[in-house]
Symmetry: D2
Subunit: 351 residues, 4 copies
């Protein structure tokens, strides 16, 4: 199947450009009989929505979702669920100055090389707006997981050189940067606003913890749980790396240090990040993703235009100075989609 | 399709346990008319073979491959190519002491939870021996890529606390640890042997560079080039993380620093690692994977047996004290498989 | 992937119930740069539209399609194309009497058994209305094929006991039943109207001829050209059988009679129906499908309700007394989708 | 995935040419814990084996199967099961006269057009020998179905102009042509031997009945139960058509005649063939396939060689004069594979 489709037994098929008529997703394979309303999906979309706080782009999109199929009397029927979000605040004129040049850090250049066509409207399909579809589909996955007592929680642990020292889950949704350490949150917010004022941007790290996954989830060899999570995360626009459990630190550890010993009470440590041999081991699943600084900055940069001539690029659109806060719900959504798909695959295997 | 199959248009289907009769792979979708002999595949298998150097397990497997189908008169016919490697040096008795306990760091526990069955022969399907199939299939992918002037080169850049400072590609295959910096290689080898002597093991980092990929390869949204590479690498037993280009360092950078400016001569820097929006940009593709220390160590560890009783585990099998040198050809093989599959998908899109 | 998705490299993902808000399809993998307007798609939808002639249901649906993504300045961009058709003439009250019983010949019973849920609105997902999505997607496939000089033409060859004796392609779209023999068309139309007046329905046969397919299209073993066409046709609601070339007549033939001899000018006969070993041979592709009589009839029938009690069913909805005329564009659409997908797979194989 | 792979959750990946080293299959997604021995698979292979009776080719292949992976102590482990059958009686010299011409009715011509390569050894991949892999994999599927009380039984109902009038299941395996009517069997056998003596061949019809499938199996829209069965059957070399229940007779029926009324005891008739809306309805599943006369005949035929010159073809190989008896176990095997795959998909949907 083509590249805008993900999942074997819980399949999402996404569409829509940032400055086209709409974005959306068809979700197929949803367990029938699940209670589902627009509010369930809107709640997650609102967490990813632009304009929700001081540190996000002022672009205002209500991102109101409609359910066009697959739900009858507030219950899923087992038929494909079509979720549609119309694009409302589309200022294509913002992009007119950019339509002939390749913005550094963006996919403008590679899309032209791949498709031979230039859709210059705000990144088109490569825009972060594409994640609306993921978050909408993820809201359904999350409901299915919640019924199994599985909770997914992502949050910011670093922005630039400011790193969280504590993990206080209740703090996350109470600060604008979605940091897990409330003592850092104000400094992080300040840093982001300074970057915005300077026409610059900044990177960070988002961590995700998943609790309640029973042992045995994940397919061996290629479709390992960590492999699918890695694919899902790396398929997000601004992600440059992912690590599980001890992650890159494992490179400097010995086997004696890294192996998680086992007692009757479970694993003593969690360097594995909850996954052994690609299969969940019942411990908390933990991974971190590297979020690059937003590519759209107001500072002038050297680039070339579609004819290969050198030009100066100054992006005047409205953009997030740091992607982390809005990446958080997307990371959760993709985690939920990966998990429910693998849980369904496990049911198929056992049948 | 099930979890031991990878690829859409260049599809590999693997099988075999470490201590079963054989391991192998069916490769479907191979371009017809390619010259292919056993030697092409054997050459790559020999790079991954146990017992090839001072730092690898003394387990001796000739790993002689047979081509059972899909090749006629030394040319691929377009039919599935079956590559079979019989297991010869199978000392199941080595494992008899382990058959009732869950080795720390291994998939013993999760396999039992998933399948409800214990195949205790050396890790069965979760063993690193499964990568024989990947390397064999990758040898075909490499030949197809070589015809397109695409080169893939992986190598060790770190073992424990010893990190390479130079990149000398000609040095890689000349030292036992496959380090890219010959000045580090001797120290690395010494460290690995010390670890082995101590019954311990050590982690490291393997980097991979791919040259010659034309811009435009990679599918947008889910099947991005970096997403597929991440899945492929994370599907390898001992890998705990992956990063592209600037990778996790991007978290501390600003957009102005991170964006790769473009001139008529190409990209000025390569923080992107050769991929923008999930699509190759024509620059060198660069990524690094975190390799955990080998889980099998001789030092005693606490664990439980299949009945949940606490026991002490001392693995007496023959194992690599550091996975990096033998991970190198596997990383190359998986990279090749990912690339040729996406190149074929691009041909389908354009058609 | 789930059951509402078809195609590997040209992938369609459909959604929508007959009496829900809308029906539609996401088409992924479309060659970029193709000229495409709403009119291209509307033209095909108008051929399948209810209310278009004396012999189709009086249910009036304009079936006006919108393109929500994947097209920029009337050209395909390579991104997923979302085609949406709102349902306008939804008289759910027509179905209120039926909501507790299982209509004979319909999927009411099996959907409840499968999903445990009753969506009683006009058949929901199992309604023929689902084919709107197929015809819309097929219109894009047809345009891609037309650029390769491939023509697909389906038509009615039998209704009840009236069978066409001639093949006059120009006559097909000029008679209400889309028969290929204009001398039969009036009798066929009369028969259909008599059936309607009697509250009954009648079956028929639709034939399809495809010209211009180069030899070499179709994947061996499972994804043979005829196997994929058979799946595509049998996936249509009212189809009970399919045969290629000589079809069931081959059962009574000898090899000497059935084999198509070959000369420098090509195949002397076409008992193979243009396909050998699952691969197109360059001759005209010919197949026929058996169309069952419409299940919805006004005559009273014995059935049971959701509680298992015997009841009498009298369907009062507005339905086609014979499916053939409206099956014709759907057969063409599915043929086009199968062909372009296999053509793209062949491009991938050769690459 | 490529064309030699079938199934989503029960996936088979086949390989091997008729005159190559071996044929075989990797079966992935098999429920762990199933008892499985070589004998289970050999039993089915023996039913398809050449040389088993008066009416089959004298080519003698013991077709002895080995299980190379996925089974431990006679139980499936959940890992891919590799089944290998070496080719023993390979007389390539039989084909030397044919290597430069295109045999009528065979895939020689289309394979060359597709692949640009001529593998002239007895049809290579397009040979009926490829079905060894299907029957071997089907034996596993059958065991899984048997545990669910699902029985599949195929048999010959017609050879040339001799049609069975009775259905006596116990008779099937007791006559050489596997006819369901013992009163016809002797005449059928005589006809087949006459055809063989004349250097000719003859077609027939094979019917299949499946009992015990619970209602609710089959995915709506594209992956309907009948659509998947049709694809599976049409993917067999010599099959030219398929029909379910009333089949092509439905074309001449009215809705009142064709609809199966329902009572508390179940469906009164079975024109649907056990499938409504693509989903099993609990009644017996019934379908028939049209089997073409064997393409390999000794009678001389006109054809062309690889240079396009007219030549006369006289096939001297050893071939079945009628395919039906040996198609029977293959039809059963493919039915079993389709069913278990859809049963597993249903488990995933419900999960």
């Amino acid at each position: 199947m083509s590249g805008s489709i993900y999942g074997k037994m819980f399949t999402i098929s996404t569409f829509g450009e940032s400055h086209g008529a709409a974005v959306g997703v068809v979700v197929d394979g949803v367990t029938p009989g699940l209670e589902l309303t627009v509010a369930d999906i809107q709640r997650e979309l609102d967490r990813r929505r632009p304009g929700q706080s001081s540190v996000t782009t002022p672009r205002r999109e209500p991102d109101a979702v409609s359910i066009l199929s697959g739900v009858f009397k507030n219950k899923t029927t087992g038929a494909p669920i079509m979720l549609l979000v119309n694009n409302s605040d589309v200022r294509s004129k913002d992009y007119s100055a950019l339509q002939r040049l390749f913005r550094p850090g963006h996919a403008d250049f590679t899309y032209v090389k791949k498709y031979g066509i230039r859709d210059y409207r705000g990144g088109g399909r490569s825009s972060g707006r594409e994640t609306v579809a993921r978050v909408a589909a993820g809201a359904i996955a999350k409901k299915l997981l919640a019924a199994r007592q599985i909770q997914i929680r992502a949050y910011t642990t670093r922005i630039g050189n400011i790193a969280c020292q504590k993990y206080l889950p209740d703090a996350i949704e109470k600060n604008a940067v979605r940091a897990c350490d409330p003592d850092c949150a104000a400094d992080m917010e300040k840093l982001v606003l300074e970057m915005a004022a300077a026409g610059n941007s900044v990177g960070g790290i988002v961590e995700c913890r998943i609790n309640g996954v029973p042992p045995g989830i994940g397919e061996p060899v290629f479709d390992k749980l960590d492999a699918e999570l890695a694919k899902a995360m790396m398929s997000l626009g601004g992600i440059k790396g992912i690590e599980f459990g001890a992650g890159f630190k494992a490179a400097t550890m010995t086997g004696k240090e890294h192996n998680d010993e086992i007692t009757c009470q479970g694993f003593v440590t969690n360097n594995a990040g909850g996954i052994l041999g690609g299969i969940s081991n019942g411990a908390e699943i933990v991974f971190r993703v590297a979020v690059k600084p937003t590519s759209s900055i107001a500072l002038s940069q050297h680039t070339i235009d579609v004819d290969g001539n050198p030009v100066v690029c100054e992006t005047r659109g409205r953009h997030d100075p740091c992607l982390c806060p809005r990446v958080v719900p997307v990371v959760e959504a993709m985690s939920a989609i990966v998990l429910i798909d693998l849980i369904k695959q496990q049911a198929a295997l056992s049948a």
